[in-house]
Symmetry: D4
Subunit: 238 residues, 8 copies
C-alpha cells in the first residue's frame, strides 16, 4: 500500500513486524513484557519468547494463554522452557529468588487453570506461592482448616467462579491484602463469569480488590509487587 | 366512555371498582389473597383489608409494602390491626396456630425490612419463625454460633444484599430446604440487587432456590407451605 | 513448581489430585456429593463415581451433565450404572426408597433434558417422581387435565423455556410448593434463558421460587428435601 | 443566534415555534397527529389541541401522557374536552363511529392506566372497545369466564406487567390477532418492564406481536387499523 | 425409571413419545400446529409432517427452521413437499386459497431468510404475499418507488437488521397495520439483533408492533389473521 | 489533613482550589477549555467563566449544562453573557468569525435542547450553523424538503431519540460527514437513550459516527473542527 | 411461490437476484457501493466485484470481511485485484489520487485487522494514509514519539480494544478530528468490545466520535470525506 | 411477634438492637469495624461512633457516607470528631502513626468526593497520603509532571469516572501496586459508572486491580494494608 513512510525505529521498542516489544518496560515498571499467546501462531510465540529472553537473559520470561498446539511447539523448539498444560503457560529462563509469599486460593477444581496461571506468573515475577485448592464455601471445614496459611501470607489471590463468594469469606477471616479473580466457571445466569465478578465487586468484606474474569495473570503481577515490597530484605531481584 | 357493557359479576370474584378480589383463591390454593400496598391509597388499603377480613373472619389477613402514611391510616382506622413499621406490613385478625418453624436469616442490618416482611408473612400463613439477623459471611463466628438453630428448622429463608454470599455458606452447613432472598442493599455495581440475585442463582451449594429482589413476602409464602407440610400433625389450620 | 509444601490430608476430604471429594457432606447435610460432569474426562467421571460409590456403598451416587462420550464410557466401564441419554445422567447403586412425590412438569418437548435430569436426581435423593410433559400454556386443556396430579404432589418442579409462563399458571391452580426451572430453550430475545428466568422471578403467583437456567439438578435436590420432610413416616433413609 | 435563515414554511407542516405539526399525516396514513403530552407545558397542550381540532374539526383529536396539572388546565380551558385521569388522556371533538371491536384485556389493577390509554385511543381512532380487567393468569377462572368475549373481537390488546404471561395464555385460547403491551408494573428483577417485554417477545403462542413498555397508545392505533379493516361496512358497534 | 404411571391419552393430544401434538388447536384458534424444526432429527421432522398431514389432509402443513440435512431428508422422503432452502421451510399439502395480501418488505439481502420464512408461512396460513426486498433506508428511492404496493396491502411485515430503521420510515408512509421483524443481521453493537429490536419497539411511527428477533414465522401468523379478516368475502377457509 | 505537601503550581494549569483549569489546552488543540456546569454551584460557574474569559479575552468562552438557577445567576452577574435557556448554555465574549457551515438536524421537538447546545457550541468554536428541526423519519416529506440544505453543509449533526433512525436516512441522502447524537428522549425500552445509541452505531449508511447520549457539545466540537478545515480560506481564527 | 409479480426493474438499481446494487449511490453521495463479504459465497463476491467494476470502470471498488476462502477465490478469479489477508479486503481497479491524509493509529498488534481494513478503505475512498501501530497507552513514550505525525493529519482514526483508552489520550494531545474504533480484542468483562465502546463514548477529550465495534470500514469512509474536504485543492477525484 | 427466643449474647458481638457490632474484627483482621452511614439516622451514627470509640479508645474510628444532616449532628454532638464535607466522613479519635505512603490520584474535580473518602480512610487505617487531583488523561502534561510522586509511593489509588482511562496510563508509567476506583461521574452511556468500571477491568497495563464504583473506602482499606506491610518499621510519614 502507498502509506506514508514509517519514520524508523524508536528507542525502547523492538519491532518484529507483527508486534513491537516494549523493551523499555522493565526499566520503567520493574517488570518485563510478557507474551500474551491468544491469537498468535505457535511460531510467533516461539520467536517472541526467544527475543524477550535474549533481551533479558538473566530473567525468566513468560508466555500465557497458549493453545495446546502452541504448548507442543514451544516444548519442542525451546526444550529448556517449562510448559504447564493446566495453566497454559510457558516459562523460559530461571525465575528470580522468591520474595514474600502469595497464597493462591481456589474454590473448585474447575478453577484450576486460572490458579495455575497465577502461580506460574508469581514465580516469574519473583514471589513465593502457596497453592490451596478446592476450598469452596459450601464446605467451610476445608477453608477453616487452612486459616493459618492464609494469615501468614503477604498477599492473597482468591479464585472462584459461580457465585464468587469465597473472597468475602476469606476477607472476613484475615486482614491480608486480597485480590479476587472471578472465573468463567458456571452456566446459565453466570453469564460467562459476570455473576462472580459482580459478587466480588460488592463484597461486604473491606479490602477486597478485583481483576477481570479469568485474569490469573494480572492478579499475580499485582500480588507479586505487593509481596516483594512486604519482604524487601535480603533478596535482590535481578 | 361507551365501552361494551360488563357482563356482570363472576363467581369467586369480589369487585370493588378499582380491584377485583379473588375470593376463590383460598379454596383453590389453601391461602387467601393479600393486599399489595404499593400504588394504593391508604383508604383503598383500609377497605381491602376490611373486605378480606369480612370474607375470611377466622383468618388473619395481610397488607404489605405500606407507605408510612398508609401505616398511620391503617393504625388509626383499624386499631385491632398489628402494624410493623420495619417490615411495612399490617396484619388484621388472629394468625393461625404455627405449624413447623422457618428460620429467617439476614446478613446485615440493612436487610431488616425484607426479613421483617418475611417474618410477618410466615405468621399470617401459619408457620413459626426463628429470626436470626446480622450474621454476614465476613464474620463467620456469628453464623457458626447459630448452626444448631439452622439445622432444626423446617425451612430456611436467607436474606442478603451486596454480594449475596450467605445462602451458599448456609447451604453448605445444613441440609434444610433453603429459599434465598436477594435485597437491593448496596450501591454501584450491585445494580439494585442484581449482583446478589445472580450470585444466589449460581450458588455452589445444591438445593438453594431464589425469589425476586426484596421479595420477603414470596419467600415466606413458599416457606410456610413447606413448613406446614413438614409438621402436619396436631394443628389443624382453619 | 517450587510451591510451598501441602500440609497433608484433611479430615472429610478425599484427594484425587484433580479433585478433592467432600466426603463429609453426607453427614453435614444428609445428601452425598455428586459428580458434575461438565469439563471432566470420561475417565475422571468413572473414577469419581467409583470412589463415591465405595465411600457410600449403600446409596446411589449420581453423575450429571455427561457428554455422549462420557455416557458411553461409563456404560462400558460401569455396566451396573443406569445411564439416561436424555437427561445426560448416570446413577450407580440402588436409590433409596422414595418418600413423598414430586411432580415434574415440563412445558415443551425441548425442555425434556432438564426435566429428565430432575427426575433422576429425585430418585437418587429419595423422592418419588410424577413426570408430566408437554403441558405448555398455549394449550391450557392439557394442563387443566392434570390438575389433580399437581394438587396431590408434595412439591412441584415446573420446567419451561421461552416466555417461562407455566409456573405462574400452575402456581395459581394449586397451593403446593413450586420450584420453577427456566430453560435455555428459545432464540433471539430469549437471551439464553434470561427471558424465562426474569419471568419466573416476577411471577404474580405467590410461592414460586426459582433456580438457575437449565438447573434441573438443583431444583430436584431442593424438592426432594421438601418431599422427604412432608412424608417422613415409614421409610428411614440410610 | 446568528443561524442561517430558515427557508420559510413547508407544505403539510404547521409551525408553532416549539413544534411543527404534520398536518399532512391524515391524508398520508388515514390518522391525524396526536399530542404527546410528556415534557410539554399545560399551555402548549391546550394550544396544540386547539390547533389540531381547528385543522380537523370533524374528527376527535387526542392528547396523551398528561400530567395532573395539564389535565386540570385542559379541563378548565377546553371544557368540551373529555379528560380521563386514569388513562391521563384528553379527547377533543366527536369520535368517529366505531368500526369493529377491540377487546382490551388487563392482567391486574395496576395495569389500568395503560389499558385506559388504549381504550380512549381506540375511540378516537374509530374502533369499538370491550374492556376486560383483572384477569391475571394466577386466577384462570376469571380468564376462562370471558373466553367468548375474546373470541368475537376483531383484535385483542393484552396488557400485563410482572411476568407478562397473559398474552401467551390468551393466544392459546383464541385465534384473534393479539397485540401485547408490557407494563412497568413490578419491582426488582422486573427492571422497569423488561421482564414482561422479553416474555411477550418469546411467547410460545404464535401470532403475538408486542409494543413498547406502557405503550397503550401505540397498541391501540395498530389495533384500530386492524379492527376497521375487519369491519369495513357501515359500522355497527354499540 | 420408577415414575408414577401416566394416566393415559388425553383428548386433543396426539402422543409420539418425543412430542405431543396439539391436534385440537385448529378448532380452538383456526390454525393448525406447525413443526418447529430446531433441535429435531430429520426423521422426527418427517414423521411429524406426515402425522399432521394425516390429521388435516385438506390443509397444507408447515415445518420451519430446518437444517440443510433435514431439508434433504424431507425432500427425499416426502417428494410432494415444497422445500425452500432460503427460508429453511417445508410445506406439505395444498395451501388454502389466499385471502387478502400481506406485503413482506426486507431491508437487505441478508434479511432474505427471515422474509422467505414469512412468505411461506403466509401461504400456509391462507394469505397472499407481495415480496419486496432490498429497500433499505440508506437508498430511499428504492422504497419510495414501491409506496403504492405498500398502501394497497392489508398488512405489512417489515424485516430489517442492523439499526432497524425501516419500519419507522414505512410506518410514516402508509397507514396499513405493520408488523416489524428485527433480524440478527449485524455485528458488534448489534448484539445479535438487540439493536434492531430496541429501535423497532421505540418507533416514532404510531401503529408499529414487533415480534422476536428473526421470527418471520410469528409475524406471518399474525399478519395472515389480519389479512384474512380484512378480506373475508368470497373465499371460505377450509 | 496531614497530606504530603503539594509541590506547587504547574505550568499550563490555573488552580482555583475546586478545579484546575487546563490553560494550555488552547495551544495544544486549538480550542480552549469549557465550563461543564453539571455539579457546580452558580458561583463557581460565574468564577470559572470570568477566569477563562480573562485568560482568553479575545475569544468567546462557554458554559454548558447550567441549571435554571445557574442560568439566572450568570445572567445577573455577567450581563454581557448570552444565556440560552433551551440549550442550557452561557456564552461570554465575541464568537470568532464562522468558517464553514454545520447543519444541525433534529428529529423531534423534544430533541431541541441537545440541538441548541450543539448550535451554541458551534458558534463558540467558530463554525456557522444551519438549524433544521422536526424532520423525523415518520414524515419524510419534511426531510426531503431540506435535502439541498443538507448537501451544501460541510458537516452534519443529526440529533434523534427514540429509535434513532434519522442518521441512517440522512446518511443515505447525501455524502457529507455525519455525526449522530442519540438523545434520551423516549420511555420504556428506550432505556435512557440506549436504543437510539445502538441504532446509530449500527447504521447501514456508511460514514456515520456517533457520540454519547445527549452530547450535543461533543458533536459540535468535532463538527466545528471538520467545518473549519473544509473552509480554511479567508478567515484567520484568532 | 405464487407471490405477486415484481413490477420490473427500478432506475438506480442493478438486480442480481440475491442482491440489488444501489448504482445510484455514487451520484447521490459521492461514494460508490461496496461489497460486504460476510455471509456471501466466494462466487457472489467475485460477481459483485465484477459488476461494480463494470459500472464504475474508472474507480477502485472494494470488498470487505472476506473469508480466507473468498480471498483465495478472488485472488484466482480476479488476478488484478489487490487482496489483503490482514484486513480481509480486496480492491479492484485503480484508487483515486489521495487528497489529504488520515492517520490510522492502533493500540496493539491484535487491532491490526481493523486498522488494515481502515487503511485500504481510505485508499479506495481517496485519502492518504499514515499507519501508526502498537502505541498503546501503557507505553506512552511510543505515543508521544509520534505526536507530530498526529498533529499534521487531516483526520485521525484511533483503533483500540480492551479498555479503549487510546482515543482519550490522543484527543488530549492534538485538535485534529478524531474517529474512535473500538475492537473486540479482549476477554471476560470486555464483552466482545462493549467495554472499549463505552469508554470511547464517554471520552473526557472533547471532539471524539465513535463507530461500531470492529468497524474500520465505516470510520474510513467518514474520515476520507473529512480529509478530502480539508484538502480540496489541486487533486480532482475522478 | 411470637418469634422463638433469641439465645442470648454472643462473644465478639455488641448488640445495639438495630445493629450488632463485630467487636472481634480488630483481633481477626487487624482493622476495626467502621460505621457505614447510608440508611442510618444521625442519632444512630452518633451512637455507633461513640460505642466503637469506647471499645477501641486508642484508635481512631470512622463513619462514611454521611448525609449533610448527619454531618451536622455528628459535628454538634461529637465536637472532637473531624468531619469532612467533601468526603462525607467523620473521624473520632487519634489516627495511628502513618506507615508507608499511598498516592491518591484523581482524574477530575468531580471525582473529589471519592478521593477524599479514600484519603481519610487511609489516615484512620494508618497509612500516609499523597493526594494528587485533576490529572486527567486529556492533559498528559499534568500527569507526567507528578511521575516521581507516583513512583515513590508504596501503593496507588487511581480514581476516575467517564471513560476510566487514567489507571491504564498510570499503570504504564510506574510499577507500583495500583488500585483503580471507577466513579459514577458521567452521563448517558456511562451508565452510572459502568463504563469506567469495565474499562478498568480491561486495562492493558498489568497489575491493575479494581473496586466497586465510588468505593474510595474499600480501596483505601486495601491500600493501607499494602503500604503498612511495605513500611513495617519505625517510619513516620509526614
Amino acid at each position: 500500500m502507498t502509506h506514508l513512510p514509517d519514520p524508523g525505529p524508536q528507542p525502547g521498542v523492538h519491532d518484529l513486524g507483527y508486534a513491537r516489544l516494549d523493551t523499555d518496560r522493565l526499566e520503567r515498571t520493574g517488570d518485563a513484557e510478557v507474551v500474551y499467546g491468544a491469537g498468535k501462531t505457535p511460531a510467533q510465540v516461539v520467536e517472541l519468547l526467544r527475543t524477550l529472553h535474549a533481551t533479558h537473559p538473566d530473567r525468566a520470561v513468560l508466555a500465557t494463554r497458549l493453545t495446546p498446539e502452541a504448548q507442543q511447539v514451544v516444548g519442542a523448539e525451546l526444550p529448556e522452557a517449562v510448559v504447564d498444560p493446566v495453566g497454559r503457560t510457558a516459562m523460559l529462563g530461571t525465575p528470580p529468588p522468591a520474595r514474600g509469599t502469595v497464597a493462591v486460593v481456589a474454590a473448585g477444581t474447575s478453577d484450576a487453570p486460572v490458579a495455575a496461571e497465577a502461580a506460574t506468573t508469581l514465580q516469574v515475577f519473583g514471589a513465593g506461592v502457596d497453592l490451596i485448592t478446592d476450598v469452596g464455601v459450601a464446605g467451610l471445614h476445608r477453608l477453616l482448616g487452612v486459616r493459618e496459611r492464609l494469615a501468614v501470607a503477604d498477599c492473597l489471590i482468591v479464585v472462584a467462579g459461580m457465585e464468587g463468594a469465597l473472597p468475602s469469606v476469606v476477607g472476613g477471616l484475615v486482614g491480608v491484602p486480597l485480590v479476587a479473580v472471578p472465573t468463567s466457571v458456571g452456566y446459565g445466569a453466570s453469564f460467562g463469569g459476570l455473576a462472580a465478578l459482580l459478587a466480588m465487586l460488592n463484597s461486604c468484606a473491606p479490602g477486597v480488590t478485583v481483576v477481570n474474569i479469568d485474569n490469573g495473570f494480572g492478579a499475580a503481577v499485582f500480588a507479586a509487587r505487593v509481596a516483594r515490597r512486604a519482604a524487601p530484605a535480603e533478596v535482590k531481584s535481578p
